[in-house]
Amino acid sequence: MIVLKNINKVFETEELQTHALRNISLEIAKGDFISISGPSGCGKSTLLSIIGLIDQATSGSYTIGAHDVTTLTLDQAAELRNEHIGFVFQAFNLIDEISVFDNVALPLKYRPEKLSKAEVKLRVEYCLQKVGLSHRVQHKPNQLSGGQQQRVAIARALVTEPSILLVDEPTGNLDSKSGDQVMQLIAELHQQGTTVCMVTHDPRYADMAPRQVKLFDGELLGTVASAQSVSQRA
């Protein structure tokens, strides 16, 4: 479903060139749960940004389903993100001024075809229920704990029923207990059929994914299929 071929990414700044990704080729099939791990600065977030259409590769090709998405205009990228991609950030990136409900409903607002109020309510409540936060609908994000905030962010990523959930260091800002809970939730989502691509530098969490990719200095070190089942590990 997602196919990256010979992706290179070079950052050009005034003084230096950073070759953040070199010749990355990667396929993600529907229903996969793939983890990308490696030391800090090896290019994980950069790769995820390219997959998530937030950034564009310097060279190489990229297709999602039948779409060639190697080069897109800003608006095309926005539409495709909205349709295919759910993003979860390390820093949650919720909007503090609006309620949990409105945060989760936000992506629906930017759809080309608008949903009715009732439909929106139905979807948002369904997703919040999935992450176990049905009772926090009218709270503001800053009234929630970190773990809860990250679960709201996951609900928001799910609300458009994306083809893939991209998760960047979801536990980076959380204590280990909340982190475990969030990881548990992600694993459950995978089992329910959601395609997940997750970046983490924590080997413990990387191992939970059936497919593991290791990045080192912008290069792919190979794919390891995990023998262990996710639910057993947790």
Binding site: T13, I54, D75, R81, A91, I95, L106
Partner: protein, 794 residues
Amino acid sequence: MQVFNLGRANIYHVSVVTTLSCVFVVMLVAMGMLHSLYFSPLPYPDSERIVKLEYPMFDENGNESSEAFNYPSLMYLYEHKPAAMEQLAMVHYAEQLLTSDADAPQVESAYVSPEWFSIFDMSLAMGRVITEPVDESSPVAVLSYQAWQSHFNGDPDILNKTLRLDEREFTIVGVAAEQFYEPNLKKLTHNTAVWLPWQYNLTSEEAKPYWWNRYALNLMVGKLATGVEHEQVSLSLSNEMNTLWRSKVSDSEYFAKWHIGIRAMPLKSIMLGKSPLLLFGMFVVSLGLLGIALLNISNLYLARLSQIQRRLAIQAVVGAKISDIALMQWLPLLALCSVSLVVAIGASYVICLWLQTELVGLLPQAQLISLTWQSVLALALVALLTSWLLLLAGMSAIRFRHLTHMLKQSGKGTAVVVSARVQRIMAVSQLSISIILTFFCFNVGVAAISHLNNAYAVDLTNKYEVTFYAPDTMPRDEYQEVMRQASEALGNTAEVIAVSRSRSPIGQGVGTWSLQEVETLERVHPVGRVVDSGYLEFFSLPLLQGQFFDSEAVRRGEQQLIINKTFAEQLGGEEKALGKRLSFNIADEDAAFEIIGVVADLAVPGEPALPHVYRAVQGSNTALIKTKQPVTKSHFAALLTQVHPALKIFSFKSLTAQREQYLLTDTLVTYGALFIFALALLLVIIGLFGVFRYSQSLKASYYGTKMVLGAKHSDLTREDLTTHFKHIGIALMISLTGGLLLSPYFQQTFNVAEFSIAAVGIVLVSSSCLYFSLQQILRRPLNALINPSELVKG
């Protein structure tokens, strides 16, 4: 990214420096003028003891009827100098022709008693001053430096040469030093070219004995004895002089209940006139501007802080205390304020030099305007205070406890925060202030400019006022005939299209005539104008009813009047007014005048339309001419000598120049006010930009997140504009209320159309500010937006 940052830093620095410099310039000029004119002593020895003695006359109701000495009182006071006065000096101002010069230019002269020179401590370029006591002086003259240069080419051997003023010769005995600064006692633009002994003053011999005459050109100045207050002198001299005066006019029934007084006015209050009000007003305005500027710059500064908060966070993490951070923040602010201060001092210096020459005629003592070190020091303190207040605003917005957290959370959240509510209030208040300011700027500007344009809105191009001079030794009848021939001669030249033997309407006072309607005995007080028969047609004043004057009828001495529209309305309408009879002296049946025509109003600035009445006579020594092309005085000099060898041109002024001169004050005040308004407006717009910038850079991560979730630029722009329009809605209501409430203070009626234009203008300007500022932020890489801390990466 580096370049981008630099560019952004520049916008901030340039905005702050521009804003502050503009405000500082206005402040410094205001303080400089206030200090140099109002708080500094005048450049004369013991200047605080110098007084002008005034001679007000009060009518039977105790109202001041005039302020001018009669000749005998003046002489009496001078000859019986009271002990309270250390010195007394008389001066008589005149305008005369320098007939010893081939061009016979008009010069201003001053006939003074010898004390004048010591009171004002005249320094000399050469020679001596006039020292002989009054009555003993030979005809000598002291030239001003200016006159020496322009009329005598700075001739080094000028002493003991003679000059002729009108018909009298004087020997030059001295030249004033270049830096001698003459006090303005009478009018703002009097520039004495030559000082002469008092005994040759031009007061006519026949008029000298009368105790009730008033000579506005005969003045007295004096120096108080040490320890004497001017109020004391006023009181004692008033009593003494009034007793004397009453004894001299005791045979007059008219003056039975009148009295006179003596007023010792400190020289400074005379020389400054009403300008202290203007000076203080300007200072207050500059304080207002400073307030607006502070508001704006603190917005810009907050925006700046939220952009550099990562740097602050790093400083906090590596152990900088709050005081260290404050110091590190204060130094750049202080630098910005200092740069603005230097720019302002430079600009103000130039402006003051310019004002010295430009404000002559508007402000008394304009030549004394300067940047005093005291005002520069005061401004330096203001600059210091400004940097302090900005620092205070910034420090109160930094949440220091969040700073260190911020890095741990890899940039999540912001540590420089002004609550959303405060931001909303800032936006709404800036919008409201902008709308109100634009509205009044527009309102007052339109009114002032149309007022200027309407003043003497008759065609003045190529029109001149010519005053002829003939020796006053000439017999009366011959004089009249020569004057008539002079006008006729001008009219016969090819260049001249029309002649009216009248005075220019520009700058004439509004002297009223007390007339009585013959039928109803009702008293009316229109402004009276004596003109010749061709005057109204000369100015193409439209005839609304009846007819113009007929020159034959005027020659026969028929008693006719033409009135203007406003007066006609007072008399019951244009048609009814026609044929009515008015008289100065109702008892004399033959003295009545008949109204034969009604003409349109001739608008005068600063006055509501006044009733006017025109009476035609044959004219005297002044003529108005209209020419085909612009001409100069020299054009007609030879022609006049043919009419009579002694005939000369006393003055020759273009009406356009007269109009400009007359409107100088209004023009300068209008443009000055508009400049200040425009400046305030500019500041407010910079402020609006700051408010938007600040809230947008706080929201950068929200924009990024929304874009990741699928929002397009157009979605975000639409969202922000919607909020903006809500703010505008509130601002409109506030400014509408403000406009309605403040209108009376600007002496304007609330004008809906002008308000709408102002509001639409601000809506457009602010929306585009918001739009462009937002586009600039959205142009950044999405990755950078999601993590606002990345904004200052590198």
